[in-house]
């Protein structure tokens, strides 16, 4: 089966009903998407498939093969972070950060379709993503900053 992950084509050997999460972690060798529940309840495994944030723990690899897949590794690097990652770093919006993959990927998909989300829209979009360390306040601030950074980048601004 062929997968396009972070711009690179991978030919993976996996049964079609294998959850995408295990293929990304074990066949492709990524670690960003996290196993949290296997039930689609917590969001730790979130990746973007064809522009949509999906729960990779309940998405069969066969259905993900249709579109390009972006994981958190594909957004940016520590030296060159994506605006969402940059905002999360600047706001120090994590403790253990096990949930953060899901927060960042859900935010990246949100901002791609809604450039200036309200605080209410941010909370509602992240409502199915769980964080146990209690970094919610910082995460909301980081998402607001991410939207601002993205907008500034797109309009050629030079914020921050």
């Amino acid at each position: 089966m062929k997968l396009l992950v972070n711009g690179t084509a991978h030919d993976v050997d996996a049964a079609p009903d294998t959850p995408l999460l295990y293929v990304l972690r074990n066949n492709v060798g990524l670690t960003g998407p996290k196993f949290g529940c296997g039930l689609g309840q917590c969001g730790a495994c979130t990746v973007i498939v064809d522009g949509v944030a999906v729960r990779s723990c309940t998405t069969p690899v066969s259905s993900a093969a249709r579109g390009p897949i972006t994981t958190i590794e594909g957004l940016g690097t520590p030296d060159k972070p994506h605006p969402v990652q940059q905002a999360f770093i600047e706001e120090q919006a994590a403790q253990c950060a096990y949930c953060i993959n899901g927060m960042i990927m859900t935010t990246a998909a949100l901002i791609a379709r809604n450039k200036q989300p309200t605080r209410e829209q941010i909370r509602s979009t992240l409502n199915a993503n769980l964080c146990r360390c209690g970094t919610h306040m910082r995460i909301v601030r980081a998402v607001e900053k991410a939207a601002a950074l993205s907008l500034a980048q797109q309009t050629g601004g030079n914020e921050g």
């Binding site: 060798g29 994981t71 590794e73 520590p78 972070p81 096990y98 509602s124 146990r132 919610h136």
Partner: protein, 726 residues
Amino acid sequence: MTSLLSRREFVEKSGLLVVGFAMSRSLRFAPGEDAPSSLPPAANQLDSWLSVAADGSVTVFSGKVELGTGVSTALRQIVAEELGVPFDRITWIQGDSDRTVDQGSTVGSQTVKRGGAQLRQAAAEARAALLELASPKLGAPVDSLIVANGVVSVRGANDRRVSFGELIGGKRFERAVTGKAKVKSPSEYSIVGKPMPRVELPAKMTGRHVYVHDVRVDGMLHGRVIRPASIGAKLLSVDDSALRDIGGARVVRKVDFLGVVAEREEDAINAAKVLKATWSESQTLPDERTLADVLIKLPATDRVSTDSGDVSASIARAAKKVSARYRWPFQMHASIGPSCAVADVKRDSATIWSSTQGAHALKGALAGFLGLPPESVHVIWTEGSGCYGHNGSDDAAADAALMSQLVGKPIRVQWSRADEHGWEPKGVAMVMDVSAGLDETGKIVGWDYAVWTPTHSSRPGGGAGSANLLAAQLTGAVPASRPSLGGDRNSRHTYTIPNTRVVAHLLESSPLRTSSFRGLGSPQNTFANESFMDELAVAAGVDPVEFRLRHLTDPRAIAVVRAAAKLANWQPRVSHSTTSAKGRGFGFVQYEGTEAYVAAAVDVDVDESAHSVRVTRACIAHDCGLIVNPNGLKNQIEGNVIQAISRTLKEQVSFDRSRVTSLDWRGYEILRFSEIPESIDIELINHPELPSVGAGEASTSPIPGAIANAIYDATGRRLRDVPLRI
């Protein structure tokens, strides 16, 4: 390439591992290349704590580990400050049973307080050693030398200088940590006290950070456990016929321990799902609706921590008497990532990668469990999902170790969500009774407190050996009998009352297996104490903040109470609001009576028809002595507040007569983004002249009572059972 180096090799090649760590996607290890090592480095030897490379970079070996709370950044600030090197020249090695000093497990809000003090002393000793080495080289007495940025120079003659790397690079100090090296005065601090960004966050935010879940070992199989159908169930038979269709999956069994292994993770998951096991089941649990009544009748050892004056007589002759019972349910650590571990157990040695809070304690426990000498067991701590105490990490390590020993290959065990929810040791259910008397002026004249509590500590290791590990219990071990710990934490409050009795009924058993969860018994006891203070304030007709101040004498306690009230713009009141669904409540604690002082004013919106309570704002004043990293501290306080709101309003482990029934996030709800406050405002009171005291858990404790008090303010209804439901 292997990233697994002996301690000595590591010191020589430290750059290599750092690069390997930063670059690798999964952390791959080649098994068996590291000869079984020895005992942990000695705490009294300077080389056990840190080394300086030829390029002047410093490697620190910390027995305390990063649990997500930012301590690896705060501790690094302490070492950089005391040693006199730039913060970013320090590499941090944590929680390796062969390479780091046994500083005790990373528990009890003691990491900066105690672990930091040890590292500060080691760094001061190294600084003294470097000054002694520099003195003859520079031809100047030690007291004329200054240290900055890893360079020793002669005061007033900046060209007479020598770097740390030139002085000792690549060589050992060969010097004892005497404990007598002079430490810096806080007035000289330039790194401690600064809001340094967390070191590991860029890697965490970009998916590059290595968690224990990401460890891969060559030749490794994926394992899953199949837990008993009910608590205490015995395994009668296993039918593995359904595994024939799953390539290479096989059963691993020993007594009542049951697992499966397979080369592919999805095959292990499917095998665990389809395997047919028959268990003998019994009803070992009480009806959950009667939990409190069951707890207070269990056999107990009583501990009287305070008995001053004549409590009974003082209450009997008081002008007003008040009494109440408060209840707290079993709760979960509820880590977002279920526990995981990798083990490579050979005939005469074992290597285990685990997110344990105590690599050294686990090493001893696993050695006993595997029948190996402790010096041949190597536990390598690797960060896990936030644990907030003793979650399933140690148990998963034992699962992996047992399966690896039985199968003869390295095994990675990943618990399922249901494994974690069902089998992690639970936070403790407690019952608290309080009676008190007020005199005519509204002063408390007598206070009588009793708490019923199972133990808050069933960690493996130490005297308990391996018997507290789930895998050991499933293969025949009887849980270790240990003194009941933690349940009386903050049972005695900080208020000054002439006649006070505090009794803890330390229960000798518990319906569910329990262990340390953030705050141990402090949130429960403080919920009771602070709710009851409010009940007394109402009875006395005194504003709740004023009522607390009248009974406090410690100036630091008074200062945080005043600061939180001011931050919240607290308006004095003598009765609850009758006109609005909004309420405001107050809470205070000095954690453990020796650690951080915290006061909280909490606002709630209550909708009685919708049975909903939302905390809209929390104002916190916090004094933990010297603050090392103010932003890290605020992050921790915010986290404690959110988690405490969640525990107070939502969380309760459900069970039937045989098993835990809260097995996923629908069965055990935690606070969501739609439910968080609009703001958490924090005032940090810094005391650079005073030692840092425990701040990791403290701000959890005053929140539950403050919420109950706010609900009372909004509605006139006094809720005494957590989770608070209107």
